[in-house]
């Protein structure tokens, strides 16, 4: 099994259990944060698995998830605004920084191995979407909710 599959396995094996634990217990804001982290972990795992199985068409999965993940979280934040008004969970900044760092690292590693040209542009786009989506979701969780609490109901 080549190194990429090992990375993908450890990524899923070490990344998802804390996500499942985070979404199963604790305050609601931390659960939404855990769900958002889960979509980041799986999107990056898809990039590694695509490289590991030598199937570039699997990166479409990562592209779609990098778009739908943040949408899912933003929908939860919008619909649960009144339950989330207790403010962002204290894990928020640390986890977001970790996710953005992980997405940059994985994108760089996968781009290094990918053929230059169109495939690399696609991988860079996916990495950027994952990182950006993560930052926006974390911001929506912390700031977006508070503003609505004071805004007109």
């Amino acid at each position: 099994m080549n190194a990429w599959l090992w990375c993908g396995t450890t990524f899923l094996g070490l990344g998802l259990p804390p996500v499942i634990w985070g979404v199963a217990s604790g305050p609601l804001s931390r659960r939404v944060l855990a769900q958002n982290t889960g979509s980041t972990v799986v999107a990056l795992a898809f990039l590694l698995l695509a490289q590991g199985y030598a199937r570039p068409s699997y990166t479409d999965l990562s592209l779609v998830l990098s778009l739908l993940g943040p949408v899912g979280t933003l929908v939860c934040v919008r619909l649960l605004a009144d339950d989330l008004s207790a403010g962002a969970s204290r894990w928020s900044t640390a986890v977001t920084a970790l996710c953005v760092a992980a997405s940059l690292a994985v994108t760089a590693a996968v781009c290094a191995a990918a053929a230059p040209g169109r495939p690399m542009v696609k991988l860079l786009l996916i990495g950027a979407l994952v990182a950006l989506g993560n930052v926006i979701a974390a911001r929506a969780l912390s700031v977006g909710v508070l503003e609505e609490a004071d805004g007109t109901r």
Binding site: L67, L68, P70, V71, V75, A140, E147, E148, G151, T152
Partner: protein, 253 residues
């Protein structure tokens, strides 16, 4: 039938089912085994019809009639939801108040909207080549439309999403699927047979004969069906209130 008794009955039933499961699984072929007779034949059939994505070839070519049934299930479910969640007499529709959304979230939602639409259409168009197809792309397009609800508010979404148009789109998608099938019938071969169009060169957008057309029809139908479905739920949750809960001043964002 107290709760406790019910749990015991459920427990014994579960243990019996578990025993049957294990007995059945012992006789299943080994996980990862090498004997897949139908799969090999389906792959060969798809390759002769120049369809790169064998799963799409099965869905829209070898088993097109089953996919017609599946789309009719989707159509009937959306019809059922529309009937169930309609606004009854004693309920009135309160226009939702606009919501203050963080400017960065708004910019991201409005920027991500076109990107998600393009990705959705890409997934539908390349249905018979790369992973994806009419259904997956349709749901992505439908989700992209709702980005406006997240970015701005419900009223903006209602302006660009006339539900009647999407209900017509849902029906047009289903009808297009049927017409393409009937065209094969008129063309002298069986209903939904893939003999109408040339199979084109392998791994190009026009390859696969009828498969891209059916893919597009399913894409249109699923996108419109999901938009109608979510709009009915959104109306119920955000707008429609009955006299009883009016006192609570509902009709939030």
């Amino acid at each position: 039938m107290t709760i406790r008794m019910r749990r015991w009955v459920m427990g014994t039933g579960a243990i019996g089912l578990a025993a049957l499961f294990v007995a059945a699984f012992m006789r299943l072929p080994r996980f990862g085994g090498d004997r897949h007779p139908y799969g090999d034949r389906a792959t060969d059939a798809a390759l002769t019809r120049h369809t790169a994505n064998v799963v799409s070839s099965i869905n829209f070519d070898l088993r097109a009639f089953d996919t017609l049934g599946e789309e009719s299930i989707l159509f009937a479910a959306v019809l059922g939801t529309v009937v169930l969640l309609r606004q009854t007499r004693e309920e009135d529709r309160v226009p939702p108040r606009s919501a203050a959304v963080d400017p960065w979230v708004r910019r991201y939602a409005l920027a991500a909207l076109p990107v998600a639409l393009v990705v959705g259409l890409y997934v539908v168009a390349h249905g018979q080549l790369s992973p994806g197809g009419g259904f997956q792309g349709g749901v992505i397009v439908a989700t992209a439309v709702h980005l406006l609800y997240i970015g701005v508010d419900y009223r903006a979404l209602e302006r660009i999403r006339p539900v009647a148009l999407y209900e017509v789109g849902d029906a047009v998608g289903e009808a297009a699927y049927l017409l393409v099938g009937a065209a094969a019938l008129i063309g002298g071969s069986a209903f939904l047979a893939n003999t109408l169009l040339p199979y084109g060169t392998f791994n190009t957008l026009t390859s696969g004969g009828v498969v891209p057309l059916l893919n597009l029809a399913v894409g249109i139908e699923v996108a419109c069906a999901v938009v109608v479905l979510v709009s009915r739920f959104l109306d119920q949750a955000v707008e429609i209130t009955d006299a009883a809960s009016d006192a609570e001043g509902a009709g939030t964002r």
